[in-house]
Amino acid sequence: MSAELLALDLRALSGALAAGRVSSREATEAALSRIEATDGRVGAFLRVTAERARADAAAADERAARGARRGPLDGIPLAVKDLFLTEGVETTAGSRILEGYRPPYDATAVARLRAAGAVLLGKLNLDEFAMGSSNENSAFKPCRNPWDLARTPGGSSGGSAAAVAARQAWGTLGTDTGGSIREPASFCGVVGVKPTYGRVSRYGVVAFASSLDQVGPLARTVGDAALLLQAVAGHDERDMTSSTLPAGDYLARLEEGAAGLRIGVPREWFGGGLEPGVEARVREALARYEKLGARLVEVSLPHSRYAVAAYYLIAPAEASSNLARYDGVRYGLRAAARGLGEMYAGTRASGFGPEPKRRIMLGTYALSAGYYDAYYLRAQKVRTLIRRDFDRAFEACDVVAGPVAPTVAFRLGEKLSDPLQMYLADVYTISANLAALPGLSVPCGLHPAERMPVGLQLVGRPFDEATLLRAARALEREQGPPPAPPEAR
């Protein structure tokens, strides 16, 4: 029973729950046993809230029995990145500085999932404060790729991608500041969506870089991701940067195919640095689109080569300020100290790991007197240029397609010693964050030699998630069901 249940995707499980063929309790127990059996190796979860999940499942079953099911997510076991605040449940952002912290409120996205009846299994591993591309910056434990335990699942939403790939949860929420949903989704062979900036509320999500952070779903299929996005998207008055435009209907036209779509292929995304095996799979996906009746259009994003540089000024600058609140005064870690200065410096020195420290240093420098114009301000202007590139491209195409990452998942430890090399893993994803555009990663096969998943990235017009999802679904359908990773078999 458990194995059959776990083989269902989210929408299939939802159908089974609606038909009364399975109960939320059964699904939840299946997920909990799966976590129990695999997570010692994978390390996707920082915290499993089994009791709470069982109670939520029982409540969902009780609603179903009354005929009062709240909708397609009612009773579905999900999990969220430990960057989302959960009332009464420890929330750490993967950092020692928040170890043991139990927030007094739920993030808006979490509250929306709960309101939809979802069962939350626990909190997922991540790079500390979402800073990283491999999940190796978690202060608590590394997370491993279910396809190959020697490799990273990507980051920073490594746990969110690994949990879906290892079939520990039917869907998860992650956050994406420079590729933190799309890169791990690509590395773990799952679907990951970074919506338009402002599409999903950031309220209650531990902030990394406020003008770039965006919440999004990870799931096994495009349809599952669309369903999850539907549940969390939409204006939230508590986040003034959340858009007041109504959320689209992400499922209505999902199956309408790719015929007639104009797919932009940016020439700058296929240059040196893109690993040939990855390129082969990406080109194959593009060919499939042509076969499906889409038209490939060459476009140019001339400023995308400056994206990483601009990003590594803007994101650390905002982070240095966002992380100032972790000062040992009101919550979280406080180092023993004789004086106030010592309390600050000691708390932050022992509470933050190397990557947050590095970024705080970089960001503080970029904002400090005399450097603001040369660094932060210039980077924000380059951001405008990057956005204009996309605006121009979208005159000729409906979506932009290319690789998510230059390589498949790399090995643990491989890039740890050289931060700059790690940063370059995000070279194709960062542009969408800087331009505030929606992007997603959809699996497009395994690397011919390394037998690791490769993801195709699609980037769309602002708030046009529906077209992105429809295009991704067309490819998914054409490819047939993806293989499951060893850890899920």
Binding site: G204, S321, L323
Partner: protein, 485 residues
Amino acid sequence: MPLADFDVVLGLEVHAQLLTRSKIFCGCSTAFGAEPNAHTCPVCLALPGALPWLNREVVEMAVRAGLALGCAIQPTSVFARKNYFYPDLPKGYQISQYERPICLGGAVEFDLGGEERRVRLTRIHMEEDAGKNLHDLAADGSSGVDLNRAGVPLLEIVSEPELRSVDEAVEYLKALRAVLVALGVNDGNLEEGSFRCDANVSVKPRGAARLGQRCEIKNMNSFRFLRQAVEFEVRRQVEVIEAGGKVEQETRLFDPARGETRAMRSKEEAHDYRYFPEPDLPPVRVDPALVAAARAALPELPRARARRYQERLGLPAADAGLIAGEPEVARFFDAALEASGKGAEAARRIANWLNGDVARLANESGLAPRDWRLSPGALAELVGLIEAGTVGGPGAKQVLEECFRSGASPAAVVREKGLAQVSDAAAIDAVVERVLAASPAEVERYRAGNAKLLGFFVGQVMKEMKGKGNPAVVNAAVKKKLGGP
């Protein structure tokens, strides 16, 4: 060089707390006096994940203040983060405005020694207040942090450095305060810190073109302290220069107990606030329609009011300024005048009472006009009783004190305390005759030409009548009985 050979240059930064019900970025109450941290939420505690949510009323109040002070209201302004660490600053940054404030330019106008002065403003911006550090809270000297005030909205109003004396600074502040209070955006309370002022002070040799190095003085919560602090600071800077030294740019704290300023230890490190645009808040757009509506709804401002009192009611400039400068008093004055149903003559009397005995009683009791038990109608009634001759000067003073204390109506007080003035000629004549009969020697001297003695007889009569005699009638009666000197 003596002190007189130096020019003083002052610029003032006023922080005025806005009279909103809730904080600038969250719905917590701005009320004072609750136990520490009672008025807090995830936003003003800077919990992880919390985001600011701008209070519309703050923007509207800033627009009102800007319009009243003649500023250019900016259609787009931007909040910025000012980054520094302090226990009372929970986010590690203050949300303020930096490069693009909501108001630019403008001026504060006031009179100084009978001359009209106009001091230009650099800007006005919106920002959040910090919390409060509670010093020596624990026995070991540890401090406490109370975040009830964190996030209370402030307007920062920055003047150009063109004030030339402490007197000018005080008049500037009084005028600015009057405008904000008249607009209903600030309560004008210096002691409780809802109207705070920092001063940038520098000195330069008389006539020199270049400004001297300035020091920022904080913690002056009364006009008296401002005076003391600036005077001390000017002397200090002159002494430093006289001794061949250089004034260091620094932040200095006024110590009211010693009447001195001293360098702040906690702010020694260079100011590097790393300002950048607040990414959590979109730019603030001020619609021209909102500006037009706010302009149309502006109340009469203190300077215009004072001018009206002078021109229409004939009040002397000083009296008009005193009343108009305290918007609550001005409203009281207007209400009393209306209740009297009379014009300029009553206005002068009402103004005299307000600036005289009423001001004294208010001062002694420490009550603001809104808390007076004396109503505008009662003051008008009292003035009416005086004009009608029902009560005389000394009696009226007693009546006022009683009304101010109890809220009773003046007519009732006159009746109950028997303070009515006696104008009855026959009754007064009888007293006059008694007094003259009792002082034959003085009568003799008066008739011999000592006219000054008239006052003596009048005084005796009034004394006999316990102050209730109508002075005009008594005077006439005494003169008549004595005959010409």
